[in-house]
Amino acid sequence: MASKAQTAATDKAVQTLTNEEILRYSRHLIMPEVGMDGQLKLKNAKVLLIGTGGLGAPLGLYLAAAGVGRLGLVDFDVVDFTNLQRQVTFGTSDVGKPKSEAARARLSNLNPDINVEAFERRLTTENALELFADFDVIVDGTDNFPTRYLVNDACILLGKPNVYGSIFRFEGQVTVFGTPGGPCYRCLYPEPPPPGLVPSCAEGGVLGVLPGIVGSIQAMETIKLLLGSGESLAGRLLLFDALPMKFREFNLRKNPDCPICGNQRTIHKLIDYNEFCGARGEEAPTPDLRVPEIAAREFKARLDRGDDLLILDVREPHEYQICNLQGHLIPLGELPRRLHELDSSREIVAHCRSGKRSAEAVDFLRKAGFRKILNLKGGILAWSDEVDPSVPKY
């Protein structure tokens, strides 16, 4: 049901703007740096957004507002209540809907003159090259290492620029990979961190507005690429540190030995990225740690019976403030130093938010000689689900 303008954008280069478009984009057109020529470049451009979350939100909104003629949105996920803190394309009524579709609806409402297509799927080695082929610029707004390497490699193999942005708590990185003669993601980071070595998720979380800023910078860089104006971030890594409000810049060089874009290329097709990112995991803890555990209901039953159980909470102090089982708080990172606080003759039940950190704690304590220790399966989340719904989930 594409309009005339939309069909034209996908078939061949459009040479004109309608009167309505001229009025909509008047603030672009009156700038000599954009003008009719620039706006037509945007109208004829095709940009694919990988990820419609924290970064994808400002990206989609600003590229749609700017009049990019064709936008593709790739996301397999559904809108979650906890997304609303930062993923500003979505409203409360979108919770439960597929993200790509909810974003498509929002962007089409913002700008009905452009073609917005939702690709509700996970980006994989099998579909990436075909998906990217139709687009001019790819924008990486994903949230995991395997996909970032996949996006990079597919862009390099196809010769398409990759506008990269990433965030962590208060910090963000932006650059443009894959321009002719420019570096790629592997030039910057030949390998990802092994799964167990990134800071624990207790250190995670993000200030909602941070991806808003970083994603907006990505949108700006995308528009500059399409217009061919300004100085691209290609070859520079822009680092944004929100708390001191500092921007810093680093030179990014093309690595002559890069296996995918260097002088002696060894990578000529997409690989198994989960393996690539997981294969470094010799030092990582096993993903599903097998430790003795206790289910929430059984734990409650034993407490009601009056069993003498020491509750060990390995979360962070700010989590304890949200909700707690009145356990003895020793954050996981401090456990080795504070072992002496635990009486190994007592039976201990360790818990965290969902059971992963506490599994590591139980594993560590067993190796330290503790024999009577159990992991609360599913953590305080399971306690809320199965025992006491008045305990908030977070």
């Binding site: 707004g141 962590f168 207790a202 030179n251």
Partner: protein
């Protein structure tokens, strides 16, 4: 005056929440050694067991990647800034999975 090492957000938890540290050193390698000596927990995040800088951590002196200078032998002088930039991936769903 001395050399300032900026500690990136993902690693501040292992450096007593410090954002930066200052040392009187002559090379990047010396600065990193002093840093990991002061903050023992940082070491495994920056270095492999063999003592090599991890490949997902980049180190810059005043904006230039030390891989293209003299790596850990890159000389430093008073007023220089060493930046440690680890790979981060957050974007769509910076959610905890624990």
């Amino acid at each position: 005056m001395s050399v300032r090492v900026i500690i990136p957000t993902p690693l501040r938890a292992y450096a007593g929440k410090r954002e930066s540290a200052e040392f009187q050193v002559k090379t990047v390698g010396e600065a990193l050694m002093r840093l990991t000596r002061e903050f023992d927990d940082l070491r495994k995040h920056l270095f492999t067991e063999e003592g090599n800088l991890r490949s997902f951590v980049n180190v810059y002196v005043n904006g230039e990647d030390i891989r293209y200078l003299s790596k850990e032998n890159t000389p430093t002088k008073d007023g220089d800034t060493i930046s440690i930039i680890p790979s981060i991936a957050g974007g769509s769903g910076c959610g905890s999975d624990v």
